[in-house]
């Protein structure tokens, strides 16, 4: 039982050992994480963003890509105007008469989908390669880390641009490009922590039990390398979303049939010079909120999961 929180317990020295043991690691993690107000707020905002992205078709005021619901007569209306049928466009409409708010909900869905998907695939590939490098060491390690170093010496946007110039547009292609850009970060992170873990006794014990390499790598080594991997994963997903928006804005990322936030901003660019700011402005704000909240959650995760900072 934890004592009721009062002014005195807040000031009291650290709780006794018996009390700590009552808390499971996950509970401790949770209470540490929500210690910071900023991180809690970012977490809530991020939850809201994911909710919007997942349920976009059900909560949007209109389906912006259903031609029956969109009228060109409503195009380029400023925020707050009403449509011909009386619907209110809270954030205005874009050049084709689509409700900008709905278009942003759908765009968020594509942006987040591409970002998360490429992050997960890159994490699986990169983590495996990093584990292999650390576990086998020697020449395998030298070769893999040389490739990682060389790739990281080129800026991400350049690598993605080269790939997309060769591959062409498309959702699958941009995911491939983002995976190629990101895997090296995961590989380096996992290798770093796996090198430390490899020399610990439980790995020695597992080796003595003659478990096969695959089992040692994924059942023993990997779970102990997870905390830094999760932190890098969060930050990298934010990068991936930003990079996808940039590439789509440049016209080399997603095709026009998959309008992510970056494409919405690009569409608004043409109208901006005639003072119709909202078409580019609001999708940009949505992108900014998404990236900042992911970064804030990632920063807090780093602090909480770092064993050196553990209280």
């Amino acid at each position: 039982m934890t004592p009721p929180v009062s002014e005195q317990t807040m000031e009291a020295p650290r709780p006794s050992v018996a009390e700590i043991k009552v808390e499971t690691p996950f509970q401790r993690f949770r209470s540490d994480f929500f210690d910071s107000g900023v991180a809690t707020a970012a977490f809530v905002v991020l939850g809201g963003i994911f909710f919007i992205a997942i349920f976009a078709p059900w909560i949007s005021p209109q389906n912006p890509y259903d031609l029956a619901q969109v009228s060109v007569m409503d195009s380029k209306l400023p925020p707050g105007e009403k449509s011909m049928t009386g619907m209110v466009f809270y954030l205005g409409t874009d050049g084709a008469g689509r409700d900008l708010l709905s278009a942003m909900f759908y765009g968020l869905r594509i942006s987040l989908g591409v970002g998360v998907m490429s992050g997960v695939i890159a994490m699986c590939i990169g983590a495996t390669i990093g584990l292999v490098a650390a576990y086998f060491g020697g020449r395998t390690d030298t070769l893999i880390m040389r490739i990682v170093d060389i790739q990281l010496s080129f800026p991400a946007i350049l690598v993605a641009l080269i790939l997309l110039a060769l591959l062409g547009k498309g959702v699958d292609k941009i995911i491939v490009a983002l995976v190629v850009v990101q895997w090296a970060y995961y590989a380096r992170t996992v290798r770093g922590s796996a090198l430390v873990e490899r020399n610990k006794e439980y790995i020695e014990a597992a080796t003595c039990l003659a478990l096969d390499h695959k089992r040692i790598l994924f059942r023993h080594l990997l779970p102990n390398c997870l905390p830094p991997l999760i932190v890098v994963g969060t930050i990298q997903t934010a990068h991936a979303i930003s990079l996808e928006a940039t590439l789509s804005f440049l016209g080399v990322g997603l095709p026009v049939s998959e309008p992510s936030l970056g494409l919405l901003i690009a569409n608004g660019f043409d109208y901006m010079l005639s003072h119709k700011y909202w078409i580019s402005f609001f999708p940009g704000i949505a992108l900014l909120i998404t990236i900042v909240s992911i970064n804030l959650v990632g920063d807090q995760l780093r602090d909480v999961l770092n064993p050196r900072l553990q209280r």
Binding site: I150, S153, F154, A165, L166, F249, Y277, G284, L288
Partner: protein
Amino acid sequence: MTVFIIRRIMQSAIVVLVMSFLVFGGVNLVGDPVEMMVSDEADQEERERVIRSMGLDKPWYVQYGLFVTNALQGDLGKSFVYGEPALQLIVQKIPATFELALAALLMAVVIGIPLGVFSGLKPETRTSKVIMAGSILGFSLPTFWVGLMFIMVFAVMLGWLPSTGRGETVPLMGLSVSFLTLDGLSHLLMPAVNLALFKISLVIRLARAGTREVVHQDYIKFARAKGLSTRRIIFVHLMKNILIPVVTVLGLEFGGLIAFSVVTETVFAWPGMGKLIIDSINGLDRPVIVAYLMIIVLIFVIINLVVDVLYSILDPRVRLQDVKS
């Protein structure tokens, strides 16, 4: 030292080789190379000529050899859009891109260091907290969107600055540059700040971290005890010592500026390499794409080589470790 440089040059050569394979493979595997290298309007004679000059009737390794030979001779095909040799087209655009990148680098130093040093000297003040919050924002803001907002506010709403192009240029040592004319400067300002935004945040953080470390050192205390003015302590004793990491990182980041100029150049219609490649990708001007890819890889390999060598001169541990492995 010589061993280290030779190893690094060999490694760079391998990277260029792999890249030429990738570009060659990309052009050949993804689509029909004749379609890739000949414009749709070309007549039969032109097609035959290209097929012969690329040796498409020969096995792939002969073709690859021809591609490399042609590339080494500076022949990477003609642009469909401009009708000029692709290589020449890109080389013409390099000065504009470098001018933008250097202006952004200067901006990062001129804005970033004072703000970083200030927030490092007085970390508890409100101004410092605003600076640090600003630098977090600088890391998170998507560059292209900030560029758009700059155009909206300063060009469309206020009408203070022009939003596109390079403005009036004057020749300087055979290159045309913008920064020597007032008109050119006004065109350069927004793109340079936009490109520098990320690096400004980086420099603020580096300068702040450096300052906080250095102010507690004995030599600063001694300088105070000696009765030197605060100004002299900050500008001579402190500045010299925080500049080392800042200069190192900025050198490393120069390549990043050139890469990111693709975005800024597209937003501000700055006529550099980056805008050219985006226009070429959108216009399917494939010879220019191929030429750009080879040149940008070469530029990067050279930048990385120079940084590595300089680094090994500054920090001997790097080269000793490398020779050992």
